[in-house]
Amino acid sequence: MQTRKATSFSYLEQWRRWAPLAVLIALCILIGLFNPNFLSTGNFIRLLNSAAIPVVLCMGATFIILMGSIDLSVEGIVALTAVIVSLLVANDITTYKLGLFAVPVAMAIGGIMGLVNGVVHVKLKTPSFMTTLGIGFAGLGIATAILGGLTVRIADPTFRYLSLGRILGIPMAVWIALAAFLVALTIQQRTRIGAWIYAIGTDEVTARFAGIPVEKTRILVFALAGLFYGLGGVLAAAQFGQGHALIAQGRLFTTITAVVVGGTALSGGVGSVVNSIIGVFIVVVLANGMVLMGIEPYVQQGVQGLLIIAAVALALDRSRLSVVK
């Protein structure tokens, strides 16, 4: 009977692995039948472009969720880094003209915010959702305070090229997102941290027994996520040509929806950055399809909310949890 249990477990694994992809394909076919424009090259590139920022953000968030933690500071960090990068390139408020050198600065600030998340969460032992909620709001507050509620306009075409420029007809933002994905995939598959993230998310005690520096890894992963959010902030600023505190509104929701819908379990240990890519496309395709079908854009958050519930309900191995809070 033990063996039977094992097979049913891997059966569940199989379902988890392929269900998101099946959903994505079904969605594409359905929307394509409804509106043939969906399948046009132009729309395809539009889809890729709108997936770029969510992909970058999801790369960071996936690692955190794989550890069984959560990061609610996405919007705070993205807003902060977008505002800072806007002020460092040629703009209508400050006189800095760092050009592309502003990018690593903004990413580093994202990384530092993530580091703060990690250090507070690990050292003070505060639950991650509370820590990141507080730090995220602080980030949002800093972004608002720097600009005093105003908007900064970017006047640096080289910087905006990061999002708007095209190579082989595909926007730069997409190439950057692809690069971010490859980096994340390498981290996940080819580094020690990658394996340790899974180990911590599956069973922290076993991870400790194996001599894994659990605390350091947790902090490092939060900092790493901050770097990705920083890059996300840069892309957002480049795309809109401006920076303001509300630039990241709705990003947290999309990010968590995408990660969870892609099949990464909130309980940790199950999933991957590849899943998150599929999740991003499910969310983006759905949003695109809704626009094509003439559904009001404000319905999207509602649909995403329902998607989260449905995905989590389908994927969560509830037998493992006795008490849920």
Binding site: A6, G194, Y198, A199, T202, G269, V270
Partner: protein, 508 residues
């Protein structure tokens, strides 16, 4: 290998380890010689696993010392134990399903496969394949462990411990805690062959509940009881019967268990179970529980008796079979359903499921019967306090007041609060899961007295005793379980009780 072989590979001298309320290890001395297989046997809770966990650096001993190759060492973590040449195969598996076989084997030790900061999968898989070969497991090292059967995962777990062999140049020691419980016969034989082969190079400690297995592989056997080593058998000339005798030990005193108060049970059946089964836990269990009866259930960990008890209390659902209460079919699909039928469980984990430590004594006592203390929608604090006071007197609970925090009481008094809770709720059947675990002798006697009180009032008790002597002393009837099935049933009238050896034969 150049040290004289008279120095033991691993030696434990006078080690003690206490947890709140229990002395898990009491002045234990124990040695594993070079190239020797040492068996370790004893009842549940005798301290076998605790001893191995000390050897593996998971527990740090309160007293005593550890010597490896004759040198004193302190092991702060399993990782340090590994680097010292000691690896352990755990009773509860530590294989992580989300990682590959190779990643599991080398978890936390990836540095030897690093190349420019990246882990070389090819080299890691190659090294893992060599380890898998030792346990004759023909799977690709890149397979995710989620896809393996439990038995295969166990073999990977063993391979992980054996990987010590090719990493450490000195002597190595492998600790095996119930490695065979999920293995099929063929795999067990393979494991024994591996152990035999490994002996040339390593020293081994081996825990199993199956005494025949221990006899088959061990050069020497230690028997543990109540945290102490009580007997050491040398050589292979020992029989299962000898081992039984030392595992159980003491003779029981009829006075201690209040046998004079053992009631002849009435004919009134309170609960009847027919062919209850639950996959992976127990099969085809039937019994009738009568008013005034103490039904003892004996069995080792994995015998299914804990699962059966939780099922009767509504914590888990049975897959098949029926339960009747007072002759009526009854559903026990949830705890509220079971309590509504008058069944309560006094759990082994007192602080987790027994009581709310932050609640006052009175609040805990009325937790299962709150509606009885409500008037016009509000709690009737006066009635609650009065009821609590009467039970505090009746059960001789030592507490400064009914409003004192329960978490501050001693284990024995806490247990009495749990018992009072179910008495106030008016249960007819009380399931006691290790009711005297971690409480002192005086409180134990109080609990026994209480059990007799309950049965003379016509209640019935199902007892999963802390020790065999407790089961025998208190019960009027005893079921013995092994591997999820009832293997024997004994009547236990005062003066005609079965012996511990009678029971143990059917347990292991």
């Amino acid at each position: 290998m150049n040290a004289p072989s008279s120095i033991p590979a691993l030696e434990v001298r006078g080690v003690s380890k206490s947890f709140p309320g229990v002395k898990a290890l009491d002045n234990v001395s124990f040695t594993i010689k070079r190239n020797e297989v040492v068996g370790l046997i004893g009842e549940n809770g005798a301290g076998k696993t605790s001893l191995l966990k000390v050897l593996n650096g998971i527990y740090q001993p309160d007293e005593g010392e550890l010597l490896v190759d004759g040198r004193p060492v302190t092991l702060a973590s399993p990782r340090q134990a590994f680097d010292t040449g000691i690896a352990m195969v755990f009773q509860e598996q530590t294989i992580l399903p989300s990682l590959t076989v190779a990643q599991n084997i080398f978890l936390g030790r990836e540095e030897e496969f690093l190349r420019f900061g990246l882990v070389s999968k090819a080299r890691m898989n190659e090294a893992a394949a060599a380890e898998l070969k030792k346990v004759h497991l023909d799977i690709h090292p890149g397979t995710a462990c989620a896809k393996l059967s439990f038995a295969d995962r166990q073999m990977v777990e063993i391979a992980k411990a054996l990987s010590l062999d090719s990493r450490i140049t000195g002597n190595i020691t492998i600790l095996l805690d119930e490695p065979t419980s999920v293995l099929e016969r063929k795999e067990v034989e393979l494991l024994f062959a591996i152990i035999d082969d490994l002996k040339k190079r390593a020293s081994i400690a081996f825990i199993s509940h199956r005494l025949d297995e221990v006899l088959a592989v061990s050069d020497r056997v230690y028997v543990m009881r109540d945290g102490k080593v009580v007997k050491e058998f040398d050589g292979k000339d020992v029989t299962e019967k000898d081992m039984h005798q030392h595992m159980v030990g003491r003779q029981l005193h009829t006075e201690y268990y209040r046998e004079a108060r053992q009631t002849a049970c009435s004919e009134k059946v309170l609960i009847e179970a027919r062919a209850l089964s639950k996959a992976g836990a127990f099969r085809n269990v039937s019994f009738a529980l009568r008013a005034g009866e103490v039904l003892g259930i004996a069995g080792v960990i994995g015998s299914g008796r804990e699962d059966l008890a939780r099922c009767l209390a509504g914590h888990t659902k049975a897959d098949a079979g029926t339960l009747e209460v007072n002759g009526q079919r009854a559903r026990f699909a949830s705890v509220p359903q079971a309590t509504a039928q008058g069944v309560g469980l006094v759990p082994a984990e007192r602080k987790v499921e027994g009581l709310v430590a932050q609640f006052s004594v009175a609040e805990n006592m009325t937790l299962a019967a709150l509606p009885k203390f409500v008037a016009k929608g509000l709690l009737n604090f006066g009635a609650e306090t009065a009821q609590a006071k009467s039970w505090i007197d009746r059960l001789k609970i030592k507490t400064p007041s009914p409003h004192a925090m329960t978490g501050g009481l001693s284990g024995g008094n806490q247990q009495k609060v749990v018992l009072a809770k179910w008495r106030i709720a008016g249960v007819k059947v009380l399931i006691l899961d290790h009711p005297t675990r971690g409480i002192d002798v005086g409180a134990k006697e109080d609990v026994y007295e209480l059990v007799r009180d309950m049965t003379s009032e016509g209640l019935a008790v199902i007892l999963l005793g802390d020790t065999l002597e407790e089961v025998i002393g208190l019960s009027s009837r005893i079921l013995v379980m092994r591997d999820g099935e009832v293997t024997a049933s004994f009547e236990a009238p005062p003066g005609g009780k079965p012996t511990q050896i009678d029971l143990v034969q059917h347990m292991v």
